[in-house]
């Protein structure tokens, strides 16, 4: 649909837009973030000023931003998709050239007033770009090889740049996010089959490459894979984190050990308990009830997004919503899968819960676009 179509269709205008905001989604996001505040308060030993308070302030700002973006007409996002994508590519290049090194990887761009992590921005930008592309592309060309190649290239450019940092987790997420939008856009399932087969081959190649001149991954990445496959092999070294995390998680039982009573978290057995491993603290202190509740809140967020996308007759808005929800899904699934021992440790925060500014801001802005798509859906 074009800008003119919107004029013709019935789209809420002005302040009346507020009535069309997806309020259940707002409520769900707040609920998830509140889990985060509670756990950040707990892992700081009952002090609010360490992590919980800054996080609350960021969440407040992010919420305001989200609601502001909801008022922006949906066609605006389609208009900026290409320039936004190009800017993100430039930022990624800048990170490779001038970025700050943190935790062994070059991910941050210090803008003076703000430390930006362009790879996070890229995840949203790529989704936006692909949604715009498939909105523009006539349906009968969607599965034609040449037209399939375009989004693959669009995804592989940032993926390659991210791998330079190196940040394997983000690279995989970019590819997976791209895959979700392509899947939603209706690309033939044969392509997906082929890619999955290819990945299986690649995994084999990666393992075969270990210790040779053409080694495909860094040593620490191999070690993480080892640890994942057998965490008990080095319980005090690389496997320590995951072993302790699982003890914490498992010991939570049905109803947990009680708020601020988690012995694993209290006694500092848990690593990175306020960032990547915050889910373990939740599971330890609130047990299955707490952990499963959070999982269900995440599922409900996905559900509301999906419903919004499926009831939206605008193809761009639908694809955008599914893409953002899909990225959000990847975030929490990877993190929870990691602490549950189902995936290797890749350094992915738990969205809306882990302590950290960039990701929460970007996520809330992305949900602002979802809201914009929801508000401006043609009736």
């Amino acid at each position: 649909m074009s800008y003119l179509d919107y004029k013709v269709a019935q789209v809420p205008t002005g302040i009346r837009k507020i009535l069309h905001i997806n309020w259940p989604l707002v409520f769900l996001l707040t609920a998830v973030a509140s889990f985060g505040f509670l756990m950040l308060y707990s892992v700081a030993g009952g002090r609010i000023e360490v992590w919980a308070q800054p996080q609350m302030i960021r969440f407040g700002i992010g919420m305001v931003l989200m609601l502001a973006l909801a008022f922006v007409p949906i066609w605006f996002w389609r208009t900026i998709a290409i320039p936004f994508y190009l800017i993100c590519i430039l930022l990624l290049v800048a990170v490779d050239l001038f970025g700050d090194v943190g935790m062994g990887a070059q991910r941050w761009l210090d803008l003076g007033f703000f430390r930006l992590q362009p790879s996070e921005l890229m995840k949203i930008s790529l989704v936006l770009m692909l949604a715009a592309y498939y909105d523009w592309l006539p349906l009968d060309r969607v599965s034609r090889p040449l037209w399939v190649l375009v989004p693959v290239v669009l995804a592989l450019i940032p993926t390659g740049l991210v791998l330079q940092q190196p940040d394997l987790g983000t690279a995989i997420m970019l590819v997976a996010g791209c895959g979700i939008v392509m899947l939603a856009a209706g690309v033939s399932l044969w392509y997906f089959g082929a890619v999955i087969g290819g990945v299986a081959g690649l995994v084999y190649a990666v393992f075969a490459s270990r210790g040779t001149d053409w080694q495909l991954l860094r040593d620490y990445q191999f070690r993480r894979i080892d640890t994942f496959l057998n965490p008990g092999s080095d319980p005090l070294g690389a496997g320590y984190n995951i072993t302790q995390a699982q003890i914490a998680l498992g010991s939570g039982g049905w109803s947990g050990r009680g708020f601020m009573q988690g012995t694993q978290s209290r006694l500092n057995f848990l690593p990175e308990k306020h960032t990547d491993f915050i889910f373990t603290t939740l599971a330890e202190e609130f047990g299955f009830v707490g952990a499963f509740s959070l999982l269900m809140l995440y599922a409900l967020i996905l559900g509301f997004c999906l419903f919004s996308a499926l009831t939206n007759r605008d193809r761009f808005a639908s694809l955008l919503t599914i893409g953002i929800a899909g990225t959000f899904f990847l975030f929490f699934a990877v993190n929870i899968g990691m602490v549950l021992g189902l995936l290797p440790v890749v350094g992915a925060p738990l969205p809306m819960v882990s302590y950290g500014g960039t990701q929460m801001m970007i996520l809330l802005m992305a949900f602002g676009m979802v809201q914009s798509a929801h508000v401006h859906r043609p009736h």
Binding site: G250, S251, W254, R315
Partner: protein
């Protein structure tokens, strides 16, 4: 629209995939948290890695010459762990073959062991000799559950000498923990020691040090299997005091069994070189855990050994306050050195008769003579002209009625009274009689021995000497103080100093008996006798009862303040002897202390007037001085 339909179909597919993944996560969560929860709970409870704190060695406290006055000693002790011992009574019975233990002690130990968790080591006996300790280690196979270990414990080598100023350490009580915000976890270690009073308490943060830690692997019962890593703690900072162990020991010995206090200040830098309160107690008793009867004996002793009389005790300064009154008059320009008052032995003011200590009176007296003979009437006259405000203002300039900032417990403020103070405190207006009483350091005026010593140091130098107790922390010297000028007319100060010199050295001086005959060590000072009871008119008519006929606690306090050498002041001293019967109880003590300080050891006998030498020698011989304090008595070592 067909585009939407394609999105819809694929949307449902994506939703299904996501739901499946969430389902897998949920199932995994369920399997870990519900099905294997017990197993994980066990792992968490007996988590194989525990952090054990290593208590840090407490910082040493040194005297100004580096002598250790609070150190640490190895304390050999044995602990018993019930879980490993099996039959506790049998093990204790066997242990009693090696170390002496009464039936009551053994019963108490067994009760304590039974009260604690089976895996917690309980101290069975401590302060063992090396032989006992070695014997236990040798017999270890017959003593299951017994662990000989050596820990550090505080020791005060000079025993009572520094008991009041340093204070002591003791086990951490719940009360201590409740007072500390976010207490260091090391405080929760069993039998960890914390400064309770005095310097030990006030410099706790410096002295404590930082705990080390061991990471140990333990089994699910909590028993250590092996040590994985060890990080040694950091000993607390060494604190060097301004005190001199030799002089401090001499002061303590010289005060003897009197209920008394002595403070010696180096007037050039404010260093408190000795601060002694007697009788003393042995702080080591508190470190080791004092017994009930011993503690009650200290508490009920009428000489109050536990009180630090140097800073906590406040006394009417008596005539030692006259320098303040005199200076107030001189500085206000109301009198000059030559001004005279007539003393008939009393002064009639507002229908009340105020007596001079000399019933016959001193006749016509000038400023210097008023100090020399300690004429009270002179000060009664002066008080009416100067007024309490100027007197107390002068007192505060000399550090009376204010708290000196020293790292000791409960440092007293004393009282330099004025009109407003009386209105607030007693709700009454100031009376002229109050001024008259205050002028001779009686009535409302209260001072601590520390304040008197500071006052004397300021009189001797004309500088605003601030007392200090800490010379260096962790080897970093405290900055040398620069004292500002008091801003008092040097002529007036000179008058007061000449008066103080006359007290000791002039023909009618009240302390002439305690003069020093070596000119370089000439002492100037002032005696004081302060009443602790009111002498009624009837009593006075009968003739005042002599002090030695009164019960001890109704006798007058004896005070003396002084400094030496007169020409180039180095040390100022104050001595207060509670219920000593009069200044004569304090004056010889103060003189001996000053001479000891100047000589850096026992003073030579030729410093004393010839007639006193025999008695002094006898006194010194009878004293039980610490070995390092004894310096060759023959000849005169020059400082």
């Amino acid at each position: 629209m067909e585009s939407s339909r394609s999105v819809s179909r694929r949307g449902v597919l994506i939703g299904a995939i996501q739901a499946a993944v969430i389902g897998v996560l949920g199932l995994r969560l369920r399997s870990m948290q519900l099905e294997q929860a017990d197993q994980y709970r066990l792992l968490a409870d007996g988590n194989s890695i525990k952090i054990r704190l290593l208590p840090p060695a407490r910082g040493l406290i040194l005297d100004r010459n580096g002598t250790v006055i609070a150190g640490n000693e190895q304390n050999y002790r044995v602990t018993l762990t019930r879980e490993e011992a099996g039959d506790v009574s049998a093990v204790i019975a066997r242990l009693r073959h090696i170390i002496p233990m009464t039936d009551a002690q053994a019963a108490a130990v067994i009760a304590e062991i039974m009260r604690r968790p089976a895996v917690t080591p309980v101290s069975v006996a401590d302060r063992l000799t090396w032989d006992e300790f070695a014997a236990i280690a040798l017999n270890a196979p017959a003593l299951p559950g017994i662990t000989p270990e050596s820990v550090l414990s505080r020791i005060y080598p000079q025993r009572g000498d520094f008991a009041h100023v340093l204070g002591y350490v003791g086990p951490v009580s719940d009360y201590d923990l409740s007072r500390i915000e976010s207490p260091d976890p090391v405080l929760r270690l069993p039998e960890f020691q914390l400064g309770k009073v005095g310097v030990e308490a006030r410099l706790e943060e410096n002295l404590r040090g930082k705990a080390g830690a061991r990471r140990v692997e333990v089994n699910s019962a909590g028993r250590e299997m092996r040590e994985l890593s060890r990080q040694e703690g950091q000993q607390g900072a060494a604190v060097q005091m301004t005190l001199d162990a030799g002089l401090q020991n001499f002061c303590t010995q010289r005060l003897g069994e009197e209920s008394a206090a002595a403070v010696v200040i180096d007037v050039t830098n404010g260093d408190i070189v000795a601060i002694s309160s007697s009788p003393v107690f042995d702080p080591n008793m508190f470190v080791r855990g004092i017994s009930g009867p011993n503690y009650r004996a200290l508490l009920n002793h009428d000489h109050r050994p536990l009180a630090d009389k140097t800073v906590q005790g406040v006394y009417p300064p008596g005539s030692t306050y006259k320098m303040i009154t005199l200076l107030a008059g001189l500085e206000a320009g109301i009198i000059n050195a030559g001004s005279r008052f007539y003393c008939p032995g009393y002064l009639q003011v507002a229908g009340r008769r105020f007596h001079c200590w000399s019933r016959g009176g001193h006749g016509s007296v000038d400023a210097i003579q008023s100090l020399e003979q300690s004429c009270d009437v002179y000060y009664y006259e002066l008080a009416q002209r100067v007024g309490i405000e100027r007197m107390s203002e002068m007192a505060r300039r000399f550090g009376l009625g204010m708290r000196h900032d020293l790292p000791m417990s409960a440092v007293a403020e004393g009282i330099a009274p004025d009109r407003e103070w009386k209105r607030n405190r007693h709700g009454q207006e100031w009376q002229v009689g109050d001024s008259i009483n205050a002028s001779i350091g009686q009535g409302f005026v209260l001072t601590s021995p520390l304040q008197l010593a500071v006052m004397t140091a300021r009189l001797a130098t004309g500088l605003k000497v601030e007392p200090r107790l800490i010379r260096a922390v962790n080897g970093i010297p405290e900055p040398s103080p620069e004292f500002e000028d008091m801003g008092i007319n040097p002529l007036n100060l000179r008058t007061v100093r000449m008066g103080m010199d006359a007290v000791m050295n002039a023909s009618r001086g009240t302390a002439r008996g305690s003069r020093v005959v070596i000119p370089e060590w000439r002492v100037a000072g002032k005696t004081g006798t302060s009443q602790v009871r009111n002498i009624t008119a009837a009593e006075r008519a009968r003739g005042v009862v002599r002090n030695d006929q009164l019960p001890w606690n109704r006798r007058d306090h004896g005070l003396f303040v002084g400094y030496a050498p007169y020409d180039h002041p180095r040390y100022a001293v104050s001595v207060v002897v509670e219920h000593g019967g009069g200044a004569s109880a304090a004056t010889p003590i103060a003189r001996d202390i000053l001479l000891f300080a100047l000589n850096g050891g026992l003073p030579p006998l030729d410093a004393y007037p010839p007639g006193q030498r025999g008695g002094v020698e006898e006194l010194f011989d009878s004293m039980n001085l610490a070995p390092n304090a004894v310096v060759a008595q023959s000849g005169r070592a020059r400082a």
